[in-house]
Every structure is written in structure tokens, then in C-alpha cells.
Symmetry: D2
Subunit: 334 residues, 4 copies
């Protein structure tokens, strides 16, 4: 039975996805893309870093961009824990489980514990972060997609079961999952702590790599407006997929690639899932509705391209799957 | 029988409402209100005039603001005619009907004929106007309510029948009207040339005065966003009525007062009405659904305050009506 | 200092608002209103009870209607706790604090503990409830306002400090509050467990009484559509307030009264608030933006009318306040 | 110079696109698709015909479906003329120009003149049609995409210049057009009488065939809701293209294929174009923004499949073009 037991009393209390740290080759270009086109707020900007947040976020940053010469990578995925005590318990957890970890001084964040998760991805935990005013009532600042807050990240992993087990032990709840038809082989897992479908998602593939991170937008109209504004500002080619509706999570989505190829999803429409008696929703691997309730499949690039983690080598997945890509779909139509 | 005969072959061809010319006491304040808050485009601005248009308009202006020391007034309501020949035919029409008129040199417009209409209001006709690029695909410039185009004006008139007869002779079609219950006494008339419910509306009241002019916005969301942005920019008190839905015209509306008290409506949702066999829709005066399908009635101010026309004295209406105002409605609830 | 200490480790784990139990005099009329007009889903209906839920809810019910001859009352406000063990700890908590309580057999719910909260209101706790399929992807069933889930309740209370202290001890976080200018006298408190602005709100007034309960809708468009559909179905007079935007909670709202006078809010646009370092937002009592960022104030009825709790006598509030009602606002305009 | 002279005083007055007459093999299936899924109103249904209209339309029908055993065809495209006198002038026009035509008795329409247009397509003209109440304020009947009215048709034609010249002589205005880069070879023409971008469009291709007909929907949300409802009702595979935004006409669009393969577009966002001094907008054939401001190109099927006209043989186009299809686009990405 591969579905993890629901851990109601985990060893330390992760509360939510917090932030993503990316490198970029041209900080100006990246700030223009995320700020001017998509509509994120630049909380702070210095010569080699930019800190951005959504319009409703009180935390100092949910997206950190660090200028770098080399290939663009993801340096870490950040989570919040409830208290400083939870950080100490996380440290103990790493010790007991022989997990590589270290304290890292991190600007604008309280004590920050850096560690490697069960998928091999670098994550960092903190209990506090500098706060700034929420701009959700500065409606005159809404533009582009008017992104409100970071909602989740998706990671391609070579061993979904291992990734899932790791997070399940930390109290993450499985809300939806994809399994090969007629088997229990997990192909994708949607895991959450904050009461909606996902804080982190793992999908089967060469990994670990960061597939995308996602911000919520208020309405369908904002999602389409983000596309229109991108087109008006010469960024239409940065749209990679959508608009479409995922069966999983019920999200109306659009995916963009930033100037370094990092993938960002804008979406709306999550649902609340708090009760332990909510059963996880299973989707068969062959049911294309999980990826699109309607519309064309994603291109091959959407399936195979992703952002490397800094210093982490990606490996081929244990389970081999052939997703229905737009290319194979069209080939089958002829 | 007060309903005008449908004149399919009028003596000259008015095609649509074109523009409104207002005076203001502080041009900066007015431009900030119409441009920064509501989202109109400033086509041109000089030391004592500003020309604005909606995002989709190719014409140079649909709103002209002229700085002036005195009381804020409306200098003219502008209509387009199809060709220059129609201007000459309009001139003849005035001559035959003993209507005061004159040619007036008007910046950015072709030959312009100024005349007094059947309600006593100053109107001007032109066949051409300088054009500018439509900005409807400059989505990055959409803000506030993202107003698209001038749609109609409403005038309070002391003799609705006379006003209606004048425009009917010019080929304006009556699409909807209000009449005192059980009678043919016209209390309000919705008249159009361009194929939707109204180019000009006359409502019974001390007049002639300009009650409001109205721009279309793309969606419900834009209407609400205009309210939100107004509040964010310290202009919440400029909202006078709404959001609500008119029964007449089926418009979802919000009314603002500009810094000089001129009233502007933002609305969406008009319908197409082109066929001569579309019957006009009658609303009884006591049916409050004509003014609001739902929501509270308008305040007394909405009913009695309006913009004077330059050099025109307003007089009391022939028909006396007691509209259901918010004040009387609440008094009756107690 | 009246602001409660943030209790991170409460004695038992309440996870979210769960449901509201109301009586009604005509079950058919109530089901028509909530189901056909507003768009809630009827999960089950028998001769004297109806169980309804929002389109995305997996729980059997979030609104229970029980036919009754007498005056319409609220029988209980329901909360979920995480586990059955939390129910036992809640029982101990009542015992230690001398709180009236009892186990009550309740259809479709697991063990249910009924008790009286710090405001004198009857509440009930359960850890499990029968589940049904979420209908969030049955888009063909969306109609009216397409309400998605119960989000919060508001209770008028005679002693806000006492109500606040009670819930703070149970780990509810204060997200926003109203206080008399220059003082610490709490006039309204917004309290939450589920990570957005509110599960339960207490406002100063004759109480305890249920002021309203609120369902989220997906978009601005759904909110306006609910108004339009209500008007189309002859229920325009059931709209009591709005559409408008609350400063507190940033909700775009509409309030309806059901056939028995119970008040229901439809709204969208909450924000996420999970981190203990998010500071509560203070609103001065005289700042009318807290109640409406824009638009007219609520009528007096909105402030003084509410649903009695079954068997609970409402008493006058300790603090006397004179809210700005629409009536007083208009009187001051003249 | 291929752009037609603007004919301001045509020989008879066509006012707007009116209706489309299609055959189908299963009337129940077609009515379910257009009525239950997309949201059109069935005005009348008998054993072998169904008459449908949009929610705001007062005319009896804008879509006629006739059950037929053979291959599904389009029997006629209908236009309205202003008066019965215009029908007689149309008859004279046909006589003078040696155009095949005949009077045809047509249910629910006044006198109807059937003729062959300059593209070889069968069209019919009428001045009157039975009217029915507009349902635009029956908001409880809005569902699917809530289509409001027929807006335009698109025809693939083998000789665009000839088609364009024919309609230009009838007073149709060219609003936008596609031409081979650096030449005047017309590849597509957008022609209108009713004051927005198009009543009829001709695009280069094997023809004449009916490429699609299009209904307006109120908002972006309705367009997406149509997709969602289609998916909920098992019709996701009927979506052929979109959602996307056309550069030409600025329409946000979705294309569906009905059970017989007839193509219907739902879209919003047209603009007003009434003034003769509005210049037509030119798009170079190689500018893919004309077809999609953003998003992927259309599939090959969208370019080559269309509905035959009854009794009309389609022929290859005079000008050969290779559109950028999704298939060629993807092939070039590799």
C-alpha cells in the first residue's frame, strides 16, 4: 500500500510553502518580467539580488532572485515552520535520520535551517521573516496577473514514493495523486500543510529538478489579462502552456518561462481541504483529464525541461512513463 | 399617441454620440481623476485644455475638458454625422426649422455645426475628427475601469415629448421609455442611432442640464476595480451610486462625480438593437425595477443635481414626478 | 492590553468553522432560496430537515435547516476539531472551566459535543462528518452565486473582550479588530483557525445573536450574478446590503436575508494568514473604511437585526456605540 | 489597389448578419450541444427543425438546424435588410448584375430573397422576422457560455478579391485585412455593416465553404465557463482551438465543433467602428499575431476543414498560402 499514513502529530510543524530562491543571469530583465509583466511586487532590490512578493503577502519575500554568471539554478525551496522550537526539532529530526543539514545566515529571515529532502532537493526552513504591509488594498498597484501569493512548487523526482514518504512523515497530507492504472505505483503526488491542495507536488521524471512554482491570481480575468499584457509587452513567446484547466487541483492555469527558462504558473481556483476524513483523489495515469479537463496536451518541453537544483545532479526516474504530449497527440490524430 | 414614428430616412445622417465638452476649475485635478483613477487616455493636453478618449477609440477625443474660472458647465454634446454632405443638410434642416446654429472652428475636428436641439441643449455636429491609434491591444495601459468608449449622454429636460420628437425626426430610434402608469406621458426616453440602447437619453426634470455621460467598461470586474482603485487613491467619496443594475438598458453601472461635480457613469452590458421591428420597451413610472433591478434606490442628489449647459437657463419640468429616492425609500421602511 | 496572547498550543485542536444549524418556518421556501437562487447544493432533504453544502465541499453539510413552528432561531454553530481525541480534550476543557456541555447524537456527524462559548452562543464540535463528492468540477451545476464553501460566521456579542478571550485560549488568532479610537476597547474581533481572516467574528451589539454566516463565491462576476439571478427570480428584496467592499478582510460582499430573516453573506477575496508574525490589523471605530472601502453605509437594520440563538436571551452590550448607518449618513448630508 | 472604395450609399441597405441555416443528422444531439452545453435558447423545435437564438436576441432565430440524412451542409447565410423596399432593390441589383436569385417562402421570416454572393455562397435576405422576448434579464436562464447574439460568419473563399468587391459594393466596410507581405494580395477580409469589426469574414482557402459562425459572450469568465461546462458534460473533445486572443478583431475566442463538425466560435471583446475615417487595419500574412496575440497556432484541421454549402462545389484558391499550423510550428521547434 503506497499511500502514506496521515501523520497528524509530526515531529515538527511545517506550516506552508514560503519561498523559492533562483539565480538569473540578468537581474534587470528578470525584475522586468516578474514585476512589470506578471505584476509581482519588488520588496527590495540591491546590486545582485531582488526580493519579490505577491500583492497580498505580508512576508518580505516569496521569490528571491540572485544574479549569477553560470547556468540558472534553484538554490532552495523555502518552507515556514510555526515556531523557533520547530526549527530545533527539525534539526533533531535531521540528526536522527542522518539528513545533511546546516544553519545558514539568510537575509530578512530568522534562523534558517538548510537541508536535503527525501527527493534530494535543497530546502530551507525558517520560523520568521521580516514583514511588510500587504498591498491587497492598494488596488491601483494591481497589474499584469495581479499575483496574490506563492501557493506551491512542483518538483520532478526520480523516486516519487521516497519523496512522498518523506513529506508524509512531516505531516504533509496527500490530497490528490496519479498512479499507473491498476497499480499502486505513484507517478505524481500533491502534498499540503496549509489546507488547500498543495504546498509541494512531486511528479515522476528526471530529477530532482524544480518544475515550476505557482502564484494565485484573483480571477479568470486576471489570468487572461496576464497573457494579454505579456503580449502587449513583447513577451508572448514566454507563454508555454495554457490557458487550460487542470483536473488535478481544479486550477485554471497559464505557464510562463522567465528570461532564464524558470517556469512559473499563474492559476486560480484552489479548494479547501482541512479535514482528515477528506479522501485523497486518485487519477489514473492514462486519464488525460488530470492534466487538462479540456484543451490540448502540454508540449514535450513542458514535460522534460526543468530547473536544476544548485549542486544536485538529476538522475533518471525509477518508473518510466510516456506522457501524452502535444506532439504525440497530434501525431495520433493524423 | 406620443411614441414617435420610426424615421428610417432622416434628413441627414447622424451616426453616433461623439463627445462631450466640459469646463473644469482645475485641469490637473480633472486629468488625474479621469486619467489616473478611471483610466481614460489623455490624447493631448495643453495649458488650458485636455482631450481624452477611451482605450478602444480611434477618434482624437470623446471628452474635452477646458479650464475655466466660473461655474463648471457643459459647453456642448457632440454627435458624428456620416459625411460632410450631411453637415450641409443639417444646416438646411436648421434653416427650415428656424433653429439657432452656427459653424464653429473646433480643434481636431472637421467642419463643426453648433446648434440648439429640441430640448434646448447645445449640440455640435462634425463628420470627421483627427484619428489616433486604438489602444485596445495595449493591455499594459489598462487600469482603473479601463473605459473603452463613450457610449451615451443623459440630459434632464423639461419637455420630454419635445426632446423626443426632435431626435425622432433625425432618425433616432426609441428603444426604451418610461411613462406615467396608465398614460402616454413620457417621463424618460432612450434614443439611439448606433445600434445599441442609447446615444442620448432624456429624463424628466429641471432642464435642460447634462445629467451624466457614460463610458463602457469591458467586464463586471473592471467596474468593481474602478471602485477599488478610486478607494485606493482617496476618491471613494466621488462614487455617488452603485454598483447596481438598471432595468432599462440592462446596464450594470457605477456613477462617479468628478472634481467639479460632473457626473460620469461607467457601465457594461448593452445589447444590440438594429431591426426596425424591435418594439420599444415600456417601463411604468412606478416600477422601480427600471432604475434598479436590485439594490437600493439612488439618493435625492442623483435625481436633482446636474451640470448646467453654458448659457442655457434650466426651467422646471412640465410634468411633476416624485421619484423614489433613497431618502424616501428609507423613510417608508420605518 | 486587551489583545489576546497568541496561543500556539491550545488544549484541543479546532480546525475550522464547520456548519450552521437554523430553523425555518417553510422548508420548501428556504430550500428554493438557498438552492435555486443562491446556488447551494442540497445534499439531503427529508420531511423536516434539509442539509446543504457549497459546490466544493466534501463534507455532508455546512448549512442545516430544520422546519419549526416558532420564531426562526439558530440552534448551533458547528466547528470541526482535528481528531476524536480533541473532542475528549474539549470535554475536559469544559469540565475544568465549568462550561455547560453535553454529547448530542447528531445525524451525519461523528460524536458531537454541544457547549456554550464565551459569548454565550451555543456551539457544537465534531471530528468527523459523512463525506460526499465535491462538485467543484460539475461546472454544469454552477448557478446563482455558485457558493463554494462556508467560510465564517459573525455573532453580535455583549462582551467582545470575553468572547475574544475564550476563542484566543482555543488557539484562534486575531487577524483584524476594531477598537474605539485612542483606546483598547474592542468593538469587533476577527478570529481564525484555518489560515484566512476569519472562522468567527464578534461584533459589539445586543447578543449573543447570529448576525450572519458567509459563503465564498469564485469571482466578482458570481457575486453580481447572484444579485441578477435573485432579481430574475423575484428575490431582489432579499438583498439587504451591497455589493460593496469591506475594508476589514478585504471582502467584496453582498448580504441577503433568507425567507425567515436569517442573514447570509456571499463574498470573495479573502487572504492567507498563517504566520504567527503577521500582526493583527487595527481599525479605529470611526474609520468607516473598515465597513466599506467605498459605497454607502449599511442600513440600521443591518446593524440591529440578527437571529436569536435557541434558548439564549440576548442582552444589551457593555459598550455603547453609535454606528454610522445609512440613515444617519444621509441625515448628515442634508 | 485592391482595397475597395468605401460605398456610403449602397444600392440597398443590409443592416447586419442575421442567421445561419445548417443541416444536422441528429437534431436531439445538436440541440443538446447548442442548448444545454453552450447555452443558446431554443425558440422553437419541431420534428425536423430547431430554431435557436442568443439570450439577448429579440429575433426568432439566429441559428436554424434542419435534420437531414446526407452530409451536413450549410443551406444559407442570412442577412437583414432595413425595409421591404430594400428587398425589391436587392432583387433589381441581382437582375442588373445577372446574379442567380429567387424568392423563398421561409418560416418565421418575412419575404426572403435567396441569392448567390460574390464568393459563390448562398445567402438570403429578409427585412422582418417574428420577434420573441429578449431573455437578457432572465439571468436564471444563463448557462454554459451564455451566448448573447450571433455576431459574424467566416467563409473560406477561393477568390478573396471577388468576395470583397461584391460586399464592398453593398456598403460593407473593410475593417481589417490580411495581405501577403509587401503586396496587395488580399488573403483575408473583415467586412461589416453593423458598426463593429465584422458581419462576414472571407479567408483564403478551398471554397466557398462556411468556416465558422460566432456568438458573443458577456465576459472572459463566460468563455472559460463554456469550456468547463463542456468538459463537465463530456464534450471536451468538441473544443478545437483556444482559449486564445486573435490580433484581428481583438477577440478572445474558443472554437467548438458541433456533433456534425460545424464550427462555432464563442468570443467577447469587439470594438466599435462606425466612422468612415477609421482606417482599415492591415496585417501581414507572416505576422502570426493576427491569428493569436499569444498562445499556440491553430491545428491544421482548423485551417482546412469547413462546412460545404448545399449544392455548391468548393474549388481550390487562386492564391496559395501555407499557414503556420500547430503542426508546422512544433516541427520547427525541434
Amino acid at each position: 500500500m503506497p499511500l502514506p499514513r496521515l501523520e497528524l502529530y509530526p515531529q515538527f510543524n511545517v506550516t506552508r510553502i514560503s519561498h523559492v530562491v533562483l539565480t538569473c543571469r540578468d537581474l534587470d530583465a528578470s525584475c522586468a518580467f516578474y514585476g512589470d509583466v506578471l505584476g509581482l511586487v519588488v520588496s527590495r532590490r540591491d546590486h545582485d539580488s531582488a526580493y519579490l512578493r505577491g500583492l497580498e503577502e505580508a512576508c518580505h519575500h516569496s521569490l528571491v532572485l540572485r544574479q549569477s554568471e553560470g547556468a540558472a539554478v534553484c538554490k532552495a525551496i523555502g518552507f515556514r515552520v510555526l515556531t523557533d522550537g520547530d526549527l530545533d526539532r527539525a534539526k533533531e529530526f535531521c540528526y536522527r535520520n542522518n539528513i545533511r543539514n546546516e544553519w545558514r545566515e539568510t537575509p530578512y529571515q530568522g534562523r534558517t535551517l538548510h537541508l536535503i529532502d527525501g527527493s534530494g532537493s535543497p530546502i530551507e526552513l525558517c520560523a520568521t521573516m521580516e514583514t511588510l504591509p500587504r498591498l491587497m488594498q492598494s488596488f491601483d498597484k494591481f497589474h499584469g496577473g495581479s499575483p496574490q501569493r506563492l501557493d506551491h512548487v512542483q518538483v520532478t523526482a526520480f523516486d516519487i514514493q521516497a519523496a512522498c514518504d518523506f513529506y508524509a512523515e512531516l505531516g504533509f497530507r496527500l490530497t490528490e495523486y496519479t498512479a499507473r492504472d491498476g497499480t499502486d505505483e505513484l507517478w505524481g503526488v500533491w502534498l499540503q500543510r496549509k489546507g488547500n491542495p498543495h504546498d509541494i507536488v512531486f511528479s515522476n521524471g528526471r530529477g530532482p529538478r524544480l518544475h515550476h512554482f505557482a502564484y494565485t491570481v484573483p480571477e479568470v480575468r486576471d489570468l487572461i489579462h496576464a497573457c494579454d499584457v505579456a503580449a502587449s509587452m513583447g513577451c508572448a513567446s514566454r507563454m508555454e502552456r495554457g490557458p487550460g484547466r487542470h483536473g488535478i487541483g481544479n486550477a485554471l492555469f497559464v505557464y510562463f518561462r522567465d528570461p532564464d527558462g524558470h517556469r512559473i504558473e499563474l492559476f486560480n481556483t484552489h479548494y479547501q481541504t482541512i479535514d482528515p476524513d477528506d479522501p485523497p483523489i486518485r487519477w489514473d495515469l492514462t486519464d488525460t483529464r488530470r492534466s487538462q479537463l479540456w484543451g490540448l496536451p502540454a508540449t514535450r518541453a513542458w514535460f522534460v525541461e526543468a530547473t536544476p537544483f544548485e549542486g544536485v545532479e538529476a538522475v533518471e526516474p525509477l518508473l518510466q512513463a510516456d506522457p501524452v504530449t502535444l506532439e504525440t497527440f497530434l501525431a495520433n490524430q493524423m
